[in-house]
Amino acid sequence: MFKTLNQRISIVLLVLAIVYLILAFQLPSFAYTNIDADVVPKGLGFLLVALSIGLFFAKDSETEEQRARRNIPQKDIGALLAVFAFVFLYIFFLELLGFVVTTAIFIFGCSWFLGYKKHVVNALVSVLFPLVMYLLFTSFLQINLPQGILPF
């Protein structure tokens, strides 16, 4: 039934629209207004329902180039997932270990993983950049980044 890509995407969008609509209909009403908070969301929900039905029946108008974008080698998908995992860990440890330490480990590890072979340059960049950014933000811009385990 869901042969074309457009049809599969449209089903996902339809589900999204319906969930959004259900939530929109559950919004509490507010007595002292002409136009309550649910009017616009309901309109948007129905609009998305209509558009996803439209997409279901729409002809595929992608160019070859756009199609080619989806031909990602297995290895690169692995690399993408790995980098996402790295970023996830980066965020997770950011407030625990502090900005400088986490960022340094992240830049070094991520660049190495992606195939950067000059380890000395990599190490220099991954120490200097976070340090400079940290000092720029905390001293010059007065914006605090997580200090973590470092004493400054």
Partner: protein, 496 residues
């Protein structure tokens, strides 16, 4: 304050030591980021926003404007040298710029690009200076229905003009609008779609969207292409000199495209990309030797470069005078204004003249800086193209993380950033354009407000949108704009 006094005051801001310094920083950073393949002005502006926190709004916005047109300027370098446009606005530049570089005339190509950009940028700033105050004085009488209709027009224009399927662009805009409904409704105080999560009460921050959908999604593309397109060390730039004859050839396209590009920049939805392509096509049609185009034609390079820079200043007209961005990039620019608590719009010129005129005046100076920077320094600046991809990827991720953390100080928003990075990448894969999403996200809140204000005025009657002549004409133009792609579709069919 009259226009002349205004612009004089603006120059006082722009020519102060602080003004000059921040224009310079802005255009430098913009040029660098714009030059990096894959990273465009949206990422450049979004990455720079955290730096402006706590700064005085005038220098901060002068700098951000510099980042914007600097990024468009910088994009041409990677188009010419690598055939890898950093910005979609410079795709047309590569058509003749890259062949010229391959003929060993890279230096000349870069010089032509720099000069045409300068001319396009400068002429359009003059036009901006004339038109923005005019539009401001008209817009000051706009009521909520007219504002709603204007924003509606902006959204329909960008969806109908984005590349690929219109229905996908519309879906992109609707979902962007949906995301902005998350959080406390400012008018009734109702919590919408927050799932009881405290972090969602204030809604999703626009930097999360801008950095996720653009910077992180661009990083994904960089990861996939991390091995190809490294800048060849041995490539010779050649002489930067332009002969008299070549300069004569450039004159026509530069004059015409400065005006055309500006006009297209002012119109909602169009912007630098479309201006550059239209500039390229019109010059090809006008040319006596159209067969030269695509093989390193001087005109073919001068036209898009003039047009895209002219369009960039043109895009500031609706942003400064109406407070309504016409493109994804100016939407992020509007975000930069709002972060600094500056509301652009018809009142900006009278309430904050130093900002309004300061930005305009700084653009003259910025364009001069860009010319000075780019002509003699091109060989050195182009070294940035040699930054190894893996290092570049890690650094862009770091900048995105800092950007979001510095605005929210919690990791919840960082996870949201990651989520929108994934969404942005999937949108790219399945050809859903991202600019309508960000524009809808930025305009959504204002649109809903204008919509509900209108209906409150009319006591719930939708007739208010029909009765106001401005509103109804704008709404009709907005709906008609969907016809353009359909007409184009039929024309293409005919040609096949």
């Amino acid at each position: 304050m009259g226009s002349i006094e205004g612009i004089l005051a603006g120059f006082q801001v722009a020519l102060s030591l602080e003004g000059i310094m921040f224009v310079l920083i802005g255009v430098l950073v913009g040029t660098f980021i714009g030059m990096l393949p894959g990273l465009g002005p949206i990422s450049a502006i979004a990455v720079m926003i955290p730096i402006t926190f706590g700064m005085d709004p005038t220098p901060a916005l002068v700098m951000m404007a510099g980042v914007y047109y600097g990024a468009i300027f910088g994009g041409s370098t990677s188009s010419i040298l690598l055939n890898a446009p950093g910005v979609s606005g410079t795709v047309a530049t590569a058509l003749d710029g890259y062949p010229m570089a391959q003929q060993g005339k890279a230096g000349k190509a870069l010089a032509i690009a720099a000069i045409s950009s300068f001319v396009g940028g400068t002429v359009s700033v003059v036009l901006l200076m004339l038109f923005a105050p005019l539009l401001s004085s008209v817009a000051i009488s706009f009521d909520p229905p007219a504002y709603f209709a204007l924003m509606f027009l902006g959204l329909t224009a960008i969806t109908s003009l984005s590349e690929g399927s219109t229905i996908k662009a519309l879906i992109s805009a609707v979902v962007g609008f949906m995301v902005v409904t998350i959080g406390i409704d400012p008018q009734t105080g109702t919590q919408r779609f927050t799932f009881g999560n405290v972090n969602l009460l204030e809604g999703v921050d626009f930097l999360v969207i801008a950095l996720g959908l653009f910077a992180l999604a661009e990083v994904c593309t960089l990861i996939i292409n991390r091995k190809d397109l490294s800048f060849d060390n041995k490539q010779k730039l050649g002489s930067l000199k332009i002969t008299k004859d070549e300069f004569k050839e450039m004159r026509g396209p530069m004059t015409r495209q400065s005006f055309l590009g500006f006009l297209l920049g002012v119109l909602p939805g169009a912007g630098a990309t479309i201006a550059s392509f239209i500039g390229y096509i019109t010059e090809k049609r006008l040319s006596k030797n159209p067969e030269e185009f695509g093989k390193g034609s001087v005109k073919g390079l001068a036209a898009p470069e003039t047009a895209n820079n002219a369009a960039t200043s043109g895009a500031f007209v609706p942003l400064l005078s109406l407070g309504i961005p016409g493109s994804g990039t100016t939407a992020v620019m509007l975000g930069a204004f709002l972060v600094l608590n500056v509301q652009p719009g018809p009142l900006l010129m009278t309430d904050r003249p130093e900002i309004f005129w300061g930005i305009i005046a700084s653009m003259y100076i910025g364009n001069v800086f860009l010319l000075i920077l780019n002509l003699p320094l091109i060989p050195y600046i182009s070294k940035i193209l040699k930054i190894p991809r893996p290092l570049l990827i890690s650094l862009v991720i770091m900048f995105s993380i800092i950007g979001v953390y510095a605005i929210s100080f919690n990791t919840f928003d960082l996870y949201m950033l990651l989520l929108f990075g994934v969404i942005g990448f999937l949108m790219r894969l399945f050809s859903f354009p991202a600019p309508p999403f960000i524009l809808a996200f930025i305009l959504g809140g204002m649109m809903e407000q204008a919509f509900r204000q209108s209906l409150t005025i009319s006591n719930g009657s939708y007739m208010i949108f029909v009765e106001s002549p401005i509103a109804i004409s704008l709404l009709i133009i907005g709906l008609l704009s969907f016809l353009f792609p359909i007409i184009g579709h039929f024309r293409r069919k005919k040609e096949v």
